[in-house]
Symmetry: C2
DNA sequence: GTGTGACTTAAAGTCCGTC
DNA sequence: AGACGGACTTTAAGTCACA
């Protein structure tokens, strides 16, 4: 069984965000999301919707697909 | 301004589902979702969560990223 | 700069049905 | 096989104070 998609997405988001060298606060501002909400997402405690994924992707200037975790065995 | 992510995702899902030659009802059963919900999604009336995207991807045997719509101008 | 618990309200998702 | 409606339950969105 694969780990929770929330956790895998959170890890993926953190990878991309740190790869861009920006803070959670900065990402939150760019995506027009609350700072604590970004924190919750990266810790795998929120099962985000596609609209939130889109906001994050636009803020990070990547395709939504790039934020998707890969299926695990 | 890009069209709503819900509409774009619904179109993408329908493409992949019909590409697999299965009905909404069959997809719903495979993904353990309700047939009415799959209908709502394909019509762009639901902003699905990552857990739902994962269920659909597993049911269709594709990566979650393959169900993601591409950013429009 | 980030983690966390608690909270309200908006929307996801279910289940019955008809056309 | 799929669109659509109504009523319902559950959960995400979004925010706050505080650590």
């Amino acid at each position: 069984m694969s780990r929770d998609v929330r956790v895998r997405f959170g890890e993926r988001l953190r990878e991309v965000r740190t790869g861009h060298g920006i803070s959670q606060e900065r990402l939150a501002a760019l995506a027009e999301l609350h700072r604590t909400f970004v924190s919750l997402i990266e810790r795998g405690e929120r099962n985000v919707t596609l609209q939130t994924v889109e906001k994050l992707a636009l803020a990070l200037d990547v395709e939504m697909a790039e934020l998707m975790p890969v299926q695990e065995q």
